[in-house]
Amino acid sequence: MVLPQILLNGVLLGGLYGLMALGMALVWGVLNIVNLSHGALIMLGGYAVYFLFTVTGLDPFAALPVAMAAMFAFGYLLQRRLLNLVVRSALLNTLLITFGLDVVLTYLAQLAFTADFRTINPTYSGANFAVAGLTVPVVRLAAFGIAIALAATLWFVLARSPLGRAIRATSQNLTAARLYGVDPGSLYAVTFGIGAALAGAAGGLYGMVSNLTPYIGAELTAKSFVIAIIGGLSNPFNVILGGVFVGVAESLAALYLGPTFTNVVGFGLLVGILVVRPSPSIRAA
């Protein structure tokens, strides 16, 4: 039963990976910013949930919406006050400024929270149940479910709500959207806020299944980037699928090649996919 268990672990972890990439794909598709500080936003969300849990005693899953609201406000202000100043600049410049932000957030977190390893450890964190001979960890299953639910919510907002129409219109044609009364400055801020809120949720869940340190951002950014490209930027469910794909591939690599290879597999897949299919349909949310 090793292989089915490994596959199950990969799928559950992959849902969380997909949630990590969701916010990055949204911001990339709409604002055309490859946000290298996305992993740092995930990290901040993780700490928000951690402190809500340890200081106020709130259940981590109940703390998730609070952390998401806080991260939305943070992302909104970041875009409104800072990134809107450079949003139409060359790609290399937005890469650089978000890298600079990543450095700033990482080291602010180090000053504020120290470099200690932390884990969000509710009483049920080790709980699991058996289905058909497979062990299903409760927290990971819940994380997977939340990832799907958030992707569905995002899909619904984008496809059905007036806000979603404005976001899609702006990503397709900025000038035309402006003519129809969309204020791109605030719309970009709202979009980035949503991206940050999704990152916050991913961070809270990540803190329950793994360790939080101020330095996890860079690796999570790279992972989100890979998944965003594999899943494309157009459909939230495809991003989750991309995450599951990477999660399963990593688990299989750990089983057959050894754990040192897990991080390379994602990149290897990516380079292969890019070279075989150089221009995936990517723009537009």
């Binding site: 650089l96 700033v104 990149f267 380079v271 070279v275």
Partner: protein
């Protein structure tokens, strides 16, 4: 591009830099070796990222191959340093040509992430190679002669900058700029885009590999994590873009300034140094998105309105 005045100024600057080991302390010379090799890396990155418009995050592969080529030739085959460097350059340039052919078909962020992937894969391959010391690393013969490492690094930087200066005015460099501005149009006008791109990639790989080889011999120890360090590649990009991508002297001046800022910050307030470095990058991108070179050319005429104009052009 290179008129008489700039040539003279450059010659004076090189002479001044060359005399640093005569009166500088050990600390200054060691800082100089790092700063000079960083400037070389930024300048080599400039060939691909600045002139050709392909943001490579795989230049650290060539740095690592240069370092490992040198280290393996010296420790496993007892070759002298010069032969080691040549081996490193041979490894890096053949890798650049082999890898460049498929991935130079990708553009923008796709190219960037593919090169990042190559870096990760190469680090993994090397850390599983017995001859490269696997993930333990290699120890090179010990030498303590900072002054000659300094002069060697300076010579490499001068040679690299000379090549870029030549490229900027030559048919080759014009072709690269044409590819950056509009690759399809450049091909239509008779630029062999594939050949030009691979040639620029190989040239950048050669300089990067020599810098890697020199650093390996100087620091006398390499392992996969330090040789294939993707944050090193990010530093190349920052230094080049801060100075002015696609210009001859921008990357050199930019990396000297940033290296100095970082060194001073690290000495004064060690904990907040990286934090302030991040702030410098953010502020620089907002106020001078085209780099120092553009600031120096444009700002004297228009003053502070230069910054307002940048924000108006790039903001929303």
């Amino acid at each position: 591009m290179m008129n008489k005045k700039t040539s003279i100024a450059a010659a004076i600057a090189v002479a001044l830099l060359a005399s640093v080991p005569l009166f500088g302390s050990d600390v200054v010379v060691q800082f100089g070796i790092d700063a000079l090799s960083m400037a070389t890396l930024a300048q080599a990155w400039n060939l691909m990222g600045g002139f050709t418009g392909y943001p490579s995050f795989g230049n650290s592969v060539f740095y690592g191959l240069g370092a490992y080529g040198t280290a393996i030739a010296m420790t496993k085959f007892g070759m002298p340093f010069g032969v080691g460097l040549a081996a490193g350059v041979a490894a890096a340039t053949s890798c650049a040509a082999l890898v460049g052919l498929p991935i130079l078909r990708l553009r923008g962020p796709y190219f960037a992430i593919a090169t990042l992937g190559v870096n990760g894969a190469m680090a993994e391959i090397v850390s599983n190679l017995r001859i490269a010391g696997a993930d333990v690393g290699l120890v090179l013969p010990l030498t303590r002669n900072d002054a000659s490492f300094y002069e060697l690094s300076l010579a490499l930087l001068v040679f690299c900058t000379g090549c870029v200066a030549w490229a900027a005015t030559s048919r080759f460099g014009m072709g690269l700029v044409a590819i950056r501005e509009d690759e399809a149009a450049a091909s239509t006008m008779g630029v062999n885009a594939t050949l030009y791109k691979v040639a620029a990639f190989v040239l950048a790989a050669a300089f990067t590999a020599v810098a890697g080889g020199i650093h390996a011999y100087w620091s006398t120890f390499i392992d996969p994590a330090s040789a294939f360090d993707s944050t090193l590649n990010v530093r190349m990009v920052i230094m080049c873009v801060f100075g002015g991508p696609g210009t001859v002297f921008g990357p050199v001046v930019g990396s000297f300034i940033l290296s100095a800022i970082y060194e001073v910050l690290a000495a004064q307030i060690s904990t907040a140094a990286a934090l302030l470095f991040g702030v410098v990058i953010v502020v620089a991108v907002i106020f001078m998105p085209k780099g120092l070179a553009d600031l120096v050319q444009q700002a004297p005429g228009v003053g502070w309105r230069y910054f307002v104009r940048n924000i108006r052009e790039n903001g929303i």
